[in-house]
């Protein structure tokens, strides 16, 4: 398999989804730092909707700081969904409010109707498509969002993603990684870094181990391994996503293994 194909079919970046208690990764997305601040949050927060946008909540991890202020991140390319919820902005018993650095995502902010958001982003998308073309314009065909539920074995609650927000498996993978990064405890198998599902040599190890496998339920109700079909076809047929523990995904393996074998 070529490097390009590998890129295309890789799903979860395990390093990013690994639970850590150290300082944020330098310059990185630092999703895992959310866990450091778990002590700040009381109670549960539940997200059900997915039209979220990225908010950069700057949280200085000083010991006295238990308040945050939120700044909105300007980088919002894939508009992926969040993992842990943002904290309440202020606590009454904290007289000093040091600014905080923190990255999280907020549902429904800024308060723009989804109808409007969709129209505008579709027009911008179709305008970009036209940049090379002349003459008649495309009609920006978007038949609305394609929200599907995403469950991950072991996570306390489900999420939803809009598959139409992404253009490739890689983008979806990044988004899911961000979404579930605070929940996953992934045993590192040896010195594995990036996991690559379509990598022949790793697939078997992976499925036998406790790593995670993304699967989806298609229109016929069958559970399939993600990554087999072209992206567009996947978006059309996917009804829900489930990130299974590898050991449970054995039933799906034969197909993937066959595919690998046929490539070698």
């Amino acid at each position: 398999m070529t490097e390009a194909e590998r890129e295309k079919y890789s799903m979860i970046n395990f390093e990013e989804t690994e639970l850590r208690l150290g300082l944020p990764l330098s310059g990185g997305e630092a999703e895992s730092t959310l866990k450091n601040t778990c002590a700040v949050f009381n109670g549960k927060r539940v997200f059900s909707e997915t039209s979220t946008t990225t908010v950069d909540l700057k949280l200085n991890l000083s010991s006295t700081s238990n308040t945050v202020s939120a700044d909105v991140a300007k980088d919002n390319a894939t508009a992926a969904n969040s993992t842990a919820p943002p904290p309440s902005p202020a606590r009454a018993n904290d007289p000093a409010k040091p600014p905080a650095n923190f990255r999280a995502q907020v549902v429904g902010w800024p308060p723009v109707r989804s109808f409007r958001k969709n129209i505008v982003s579709n027009v911008q998308r179709s305008n970009k498509k036209e940049e090379g073309e002349k003459g008649a314009s495309t009609s920006g065909s978007n038949n609305g969002a394609a929200f599907v539920k995403v469950s991950m074995d072991g996570a306390p609650y489900l999420r939803k993603v809009d598959l139409k927000m992404y253009k490739s498996y890689q983008e979806l993978s990044d988004a899911l990684a961000k979404m579930f990064s605070s929940f996953t405890t992934i045993d590192k198998c040896g010195s594995q870094g990036m996991k690559d599902f379509m990598n022949e040599t790793k697939l078997i190890d992976l499925l036998n181990g406790s790593d995670y496998v993304p699967t989806y339920e298609d229109k016929d109700g069958d559970w399939m391994l993600v990554g087999d079909v072209p992206w567009e076809m996947f978006v059309e047929s996917c009804k829900r996503l489930r990130i299974m523990k590898g050991s449970e995904a054995i039933g799906l393996a034969p197909r993937a293994v066959e595919k690998c074998k046929s490539r070698s």
Partner: protein, 571 residues
């Protein structure tokens, strides 16, 4: 007045039109209540769960026009899960069974099924007007039923609805005998319509004043339509893309010159900027311009266009116009009353609008009374200036895209700025806050915002005191919606009677607990206190100490509703 016969009083009541005034009349005495209810034709129901359709019909048998609103406002921002409620069906069924001669139905944030539309179209012979705003649940099949069966239809106005397109020819379902259309708006539909049917429909509708097309209607069809309807006053353009050298474009330019009656323009869902010059001739007549969906137009082109629009009273635009562009608006549009500036990207255009644009507007447009402004930053100084220049604000909605952002010049919260707004604008009825805010701003609001009816708060405040200032101070408060604020049980429970004077309260991601909500529900039986438990994996009964993620409470005479989905717990 008691010595006058009923007919005389009825005649006098005919002059009393507003809902509030009529509500007031009905409270004067029993005979006025009786007369008022039999003569009442228009009823507004701000929360469809506040009353049952049967009770409505029983009280107002002469009902002709009904306005219904369903989901809470924050449903617009995906905070309300999908199947929460707001169904039209029971209303239509009840009305159809009764002898009400419904003529007009206006819905907002309701779930409308094709079956209800079909039933509606068959049940009321004199049905004239259907207006659907931000609704969902129906397809073009439902529209086909309306088109086919409502023989005297005057108005079909679809605004920002999620409509499934079944690629049937709904527009062709208007029979040849239908010549009564005054207003047709299908801009939100995604699919194609039969252009021939559309042109023929326009040709046989001499009273057509308002027509808003969707993006599937190309420029040459637009030209033919405009030829047939020179009387149009309100036009929504779908697609505005053409080769500027073509015959079709030249024909369009000439046709536009003849349409001197157009005063309102919108749409441009698809636009090639070089085509915009064609509409310059009608710009001087425009009082209303909505370019908020025209993502294809850049700031410089917007500015060129605006320079021609000296009579504008209402302008909806995207933030790519920039501060400089707003300066041009301020210089050109001296009659401006309503301005909305929307973000062109989820976090706005980096080169977009700031406090400077708003200050410029306030200096140039003293008649401004309604504002919705998405911007990158705001300062207290700017807000104070705006408050001084524009004391007539009725609606002031400011959204600083970065939540919790303070005044960038002083790094202080925006309490003083908003305080100046409420202090200066004594007629303020609607306010949306943003940026970094402490309890102080709520003290100002409670003290000064005497006419305030609707308040939207996000990421603000420090303690329960904030919410209490508002509940205590704003006597006319009807709708309060709060998200991500540190308001908790004390604020919620201090004045439970207040909620019966309001339409509804929304609190999400705050500090209220299940126990407090239960207590509130127990004390106030005429409130529905709904908690949303969206936690799918845990099969839990909520414990009292648990924090509530989303709570929506509203006064009601209808009791607990029977159509709530599983995740909604009415306490």
């Amino acid at each position: 007045m008691n010595y006058f016969p009923d007919e005389v009083i009825e005649h006098i009541f005919d002059y009393v039109v507003s809902h509030r005034d009529r509500n007031a009349l009905s409270l004067v005495c029993k005979s006025w209540y009786r007369i008022e209810r039999f003569t009442r034709q228009r009823v507004f129901i701000g929360n469809c769960y506040s009353i049952t359709p049967e009770r409505l019909i029983q009280r107002f048998p002469g009902l002709k026009s009904l306005t219904l609103k369903g989901k809470p406002h924050f449903a617009d921002f995906s905070l309300v899960p999908y199947d929460w409620g707001g169904f039209l069906c029971p209303w239509i069924e009840a009305l159809a069974k009764s002898r009400v001669g419904l003529e007009e139905l206006r819905l907002k944030r309701m779930v409308v099924s094709d079956e209800s539309l079909e039933l509606l179209s068959r049940s009321f012979t004199h049905f004239k007007s259907l207006v659907l705003v931000s609704c969902e649940g129906f397809t073009t099949d439902g529209l086909a039923a309306i088109a086919a069966n409502c023989r005297f239809l005057r108005e079909l106005d679809l605004q920002e609805n999620e409509v499934e397109d079944h690629k049937g020819q709904w527009l062709s379902c208007f029979p040849d005998s239908c010549t009564s259309l005054v207003s047709l708006n299908f801009a939100c539909l995604k699919g194609e319509v039969s252009l021939g049917a559309l042109e023929r429909l326009v040709a046989r509708s001499p009273n057509l004043k308002s027509l808003k097309l969707n993006r599937s209607v190309p420029l040459d069809a637009l030209q033919r339509i405009m030829m047939r309807a020179p009387q149009l006053a309100d036009l929504g353009i779908g697609s505005f893309v053409h080769d500027p050298d073509s015959e079709a474009y030249i024909r369009l330019k000439n046709t536009i010159l003849k349409c001197k009656s157009i005063t309102s323009l919108s749409g441009f869902l698809e636009v090639a900027p070089h085509c915009l010059a064609a509409i310059y001739p009608i710009c001087p007549n425009l009082t209303s311009l909505n370019l908020s969906y025209a993502a294809g137009i850049q700031g410089s082109e917007l500015i060129k266009l605006i320079r021609h629009c000296g009579k504008l009273q209402r302008l909806w635009i995207m933030d790519c116009i920039g501060d400089k562009g707003l300066g041009v608006v301020a210089m050109t549009c001296k009659d401006l009353q309503e301005l909305r500036v929307f973000p062109s990207a989820p976090y706005g255009n980096p080169a977009a609008v700031t406090e400077k644009g708003l200050v410029a507007i306030s200096m140039g447009c003293p008649k401004l009374h309604s504002l919705l402004y998405f911007c990158h930053q705001m300062t207290n100084a700017a807000l104070i200036t705006v408050a001084k220049n524009c004391p007539n604000f009725i609606r002031f909605r400011l959204c600083i895209l970065e939540a919790l952002k303070p005044d960038p010049d002083t790094l202080e919260p925006l309490d003083e700025g908003f305080g100046a707004i409420v202090q200066s604008c004594r007629r303020l009825r609607r306010l949306s806050l943003s940026g970094q805010l402490t309890d102080q701003v709520f003290l100002y609001i409670g003290m000064y915002a005497e006419q305030l009816e609707m308040l939207s708060i996000a990421f603000a405040g420090e303690s329960d005191k904030g919410m209490l200032y508002v509940l205590n101070g704003c006597k006319k408060l009807r709708k309060l919606e709060i998200r991500d604020c540190p308001f908790g049980n004390m604020a919620l429970l201090t004045d439970v009677g207040k909620y019966e004077t309001m339409r509804s309260l929304w609190m999400s991601s705050c500090e209220v607990t299940v126990g407090a909500c239960k207590l509130l529900a127990k004390k106030m039986p005429r409130l529905n206190v709904e908690i949303f438990n969206e936690n799918e994996q845990e099969d839990c009964s909520l414990e009292d100490g648990q924090r509530v993620e989303k709570m929506y409470l509203y006064r009601t005479l209808a009791g607990k509703r029977k159509d709530a989905p599983e995740y909604v717990w009415t306490l």
